[in-house]
């Protein structure tokens, strides 16, 4: 066996060439992790939303809340269903909500659709994560709204600002967080917003709190079995799953396609470097062989060198990608066609995938040159010098 020291000392000895190769593979890793972080962040924005014990009811055949609409009677009927939880003081844990979309301008002047949600007092009870980070909650009847904190940043809205929503003017009285994808929405009182958008008396969705995920399944069956209702029911995570998949799926595919293509390119680069290493070290290899090292050891040593190069490059790329983490951005939710804000997430999985990709690049790029190094005849090697 050739000592491992020989391997890494070699890389260090020829650090100029090794660094160039390392950097080029590192950039490949950076791109891959970047796209995964984009997809991961989008996913996380939806994954943090919704509780498997909460059932969301919409009009039959609709994919998104803003497409759905049904009259108050259906909503009232839903809140009386068996299996809907009650608070300690006996109030039904349910929230009828109306969801509309309004055009807003982002800080950079571009245009986007923003989801505006009219909620009833019950909305907060079924979303225990809800938290006001600045200001206070709106008071019904006073034309007040609260804005998701990340969305407020994208739109440049501050507490105290006034905006027209539908026909009336509303004042921002608070910013909120802790409710996942709802952080990309504007919330106000159900009646205030219903009146302003002329949607009074109609609901887009009704959320019902069940005791447990299993109880939620039973509740869904009860709702579906009711002949008086033309609605569909699903748990909140099921509802957001579709939006998550539709919106992030293409980035995951894109990331993988890019990664494979770029990795092939990087393999060529790694092979090139290793071939050059082998050629430059002909005399050395010959000497090692003359000293009695086996062909297999020579091959192993060069192979190890390539793998090491890959791993270090992967680590380098991962390091480069770290500043991407937590960058706040937003895109279009491809189901609701409205703004969804999220943070890039360089998850451990993404980092690991990146390093793995680089390692594979090193392995594939190093295989042939290492084999080539071991096949040469001692006499040729020594003579070449």
């Amino acid at each position: 066996m050739i000592p491992i020291k020989y391997t890494y000392r070699n890389l260090f000895e020829r650090r100029g060439v090794a660094f160039m190769t390392l950097a080029s593979i590192g950039f490949v890793v950076l791109v891959y992790i970047g796209v995964l972080a984009l997809a991961g962040g989008l996913r996380a924005a939806f994954a943090d939303t919704g509780d498997p014990s909460v059932v969301i009811v919409m009009r039959d055949g609709t994919r998104a809340e803003m497409e759905s609409s049904y009259a108050q009677e259906s909503h009232r009927l839903l809140t009386t269903m068996p299996g809907v939880e009650r608070t300690a003081d006996g109030a039904v844990m349910a929230s009828g909500e109306t969801v509309t979309i309004q055009i807003f301008n982002r800080v950079d002047g571009t245009e986007t659709n923003v989801m505006v949600r009219g909620v009833e007092p019950g909305a907060f009870g079924i979303r225990p994560g809800f938290e006001i980070t600045e200001g206070r909650v709106f008071e019904p009847g006073r034309g007040e709204i609260i804005v998701g904190r990340s969305l407020a940043g994208r739109l440049g809205l501050r507490v105290g600002d006034e905006r027209e929503l539908g026909r009336n003017t509303f004042r921002v009285v608070g910013l909120f967080t802790g409710v996942g994808a709802h952080g990309s929405e504007i919330w106000g009182d159900y009646r205030d917003l219903g009146d302003s958008f002329r949607r009074s008396g109609y609901y887009s969705s009704t959320r019902l709190q069940a005791a447990s995920p299993a109880a939620a399944r039973d509740l869904i069956e009860t709702v579906k079995a009711d002949q008086r209702l033309q609605v569909q029911a699903l748990t909140e995570p099921e509802y957001y799953e579709l939006q998550s998949e539709t919106s992030s799926g293409q980035f995951i595919i894109l990331g993988n396609v890019l990664a494979v293509l770029m990795a092939i390119g990087a393999c060529f680069a790694a092979a090139n470097t290793m071939y050059a290493q082998v050629a430059a070290r002909a005399r050395e290899i010959g000497t090692l062989r003359a000293l009695g090292f086996k062909r297999r050891s020579i091959m192993g040593s060069f192979f190890l060198e390539a793998v090491l190069l890959g791993v270090v490059a992967g680590g380098f790329g991962a390091l480069l990608s770290l500043p991407l983490n937590a960058i706040q951005t937003g895109t279009m939710n491809q189901v609701t066609f409205s703004e969804i804000t999220f943070q890039l997430r360089t998850t451990p999985f993404a980092l690991f995938s990146g390093i793995f990709l680089a390692t594979v690049t090193g392995v594939l790029g190093g295989l042939l040159p290492a084999f080539g190094a071991s096949r040469q005849k001692i006499t040729d090697l020594l003579r070449e010098a």
Partner: protein, 381 residues
């Protein structure tokens, strides 16, 4: 000289091939990204600036009353007005390949505004006469395998009704993306919904594109004090607003492209440096034989330039071929509808980058080779 460059390129075929291949791969990815980015850009560059879109000022989810159509027609410079409504709905299932835009229109006025779709008169008549008829773009009929007379069902979502439609007309359009939609009668949906008398958008044709700002102002002022205020804009601005909604995604694409360019630059520069170093002695011999520094410089740069040009050609050729095969795949991923084409802008950018990488990566080794003192070079044996 040229002969020397060629010989040098061929003397380590493996290295030349590997370098060119990685450069080609990078340009392939780069141009593919450009193509996808273009397709995500909804803005219709061919849009004729003589059409305006009027919609509810709140957002597209809010309709406008039917009566607005007549009133919009009274504005100066407006030649024709026609309604167009996004029906959405579901055809077969939620899979992206079964998603295509579905609009309801008014056949009486449709062609006066959308004059650039091409129809045969009989087919158009058949479509206009039958309330349950639909018209589809040629490309879509080919993808879906529809022929005239076929019946399809669209399950409503925004509109809580299912519509059964019969294909009566197929239209042609020179922008490929525009052939991927269907049109059917708005009357059909109106009646099924109990005649709410609403429309999503009105499209206006102007007799003079220069009048657009005035017409926009007039349309917005006309409904300023009504229950449904409107927003008017050119068709191009309307399309661009959809691209804007995608937000920073295109910016990320550019960043990816930049990382790729840096990466290939490093790869090629690395190889050229290796190639030049290997030849230190040789360069000195050439110099002793009377070659001048400039000639040595040119030789090394010429070599890397050749790698750049050939690699670019290879990569772009690959893209041109791959787009044909990749189009269905890209559509499935949901990157826009059709319109995947290697346009001249992407092409030129990629070629420039390829050549620039080739040139720049040759400069350092070339200068080093040219600067080398003959004695040093020969001593290095």
């Amino acid at each position: 000289m040229i002969k020397l460059i060629r010989r040098n390129l061929l003397r380590n075929k493996r290295r030349t091939f590997l370098t060119m291949a990685s450069l080609a791969m990078a340009l392939f990815i780069l141009s593919l990204l450009g193509v996808v980015n273009d397709a995500m850009n909804f803005a219709d560059e061919s849009a004729i600036p003589d059409r305006l879109v009027v919609r509810n000022a709140i957002s597209l989810t809010f309709p406008l009353p039917e009566a607005y159509e007549q009133r919009l027609r009274t504005i100066d410079n407006v030649v024709a007005v026609t309604p167009q409504n996004w029906f959405q709905g579901v055809y077969k299932d939620q899979r992206p390949e079964n998603f295509f835009p579905r609009f309801t229109i008014d056949p009486e006025t449709f062609r006066s505004v959308f004059y650039d779709l091409e129809w045969t008169e009989e087919e158009w008549e058949a479509f206009a006469e039958q309330r349950t008829a639909f018209a589809a773009g040629r490309e879509l009929t080919e993808i879906q395998g529809w022929s005239l007379g076929d019946t399809i069902t669209i399950k409503g979502d925004i509109f809580p009704i299912d519509v059964e439609l019969q294909l009566r007309a197929i239209y042609d359009f020179d922008e490929p993306g525009q052939e991927r939609q269907i049109f059917f009668h708005r009357r059909y949906v109106e009646e099924a919904m109990g005649n709410p008398g609403q429309n999503g958008t009105y499209w206006l044709l102007l007799d003079d594109p220069a009048a657009a700002p005035a017409v926009i102002a007039a349309a917005e002022a006309m409904f300023e004090n009504s229950d449904n205020q409107v927003r008017a804009e050119t068709a191009e601005a309307f399309a661009a607003s959809f691209t804007e909604m995608l937000g920073n995604i295109q910016f990320f694409f550019s960043m990816i492209g930049l990382a790729i360019v840096i990466s290939i630059f490093l790869i090629t520069a690395n190889t050229m440096a290796m190639a030049a170093r290997e030849r230190t002695t040789e360069v000195s011999v050439l110099r002793t034989l009377g070659f001048r520094r400039n000639q040595v410089l040119g030789m090394v740069i010429g070599e890397s330039l050749a790698v750049g040009v050939l690699g670019s050609a290879l990569g772009l050729g690959f893209t041109a071929v791959a787009i044909q095969g990749a189009t269905p795949f890209l559509e499935q991923m949901g990157f826009g509808f059709g319109g995947f084409a290697l346009d001249s802008q992407v092409l030129v950018t990629a070629v420039v980058i390829g050549i620039a990488v080739g040139l720049l990566s040759g400069v350092f080794p070339a200068v080093a080779a040219a600067r080398l003192k003959i004695v040093d070079g020969l001593r290095r044996l």
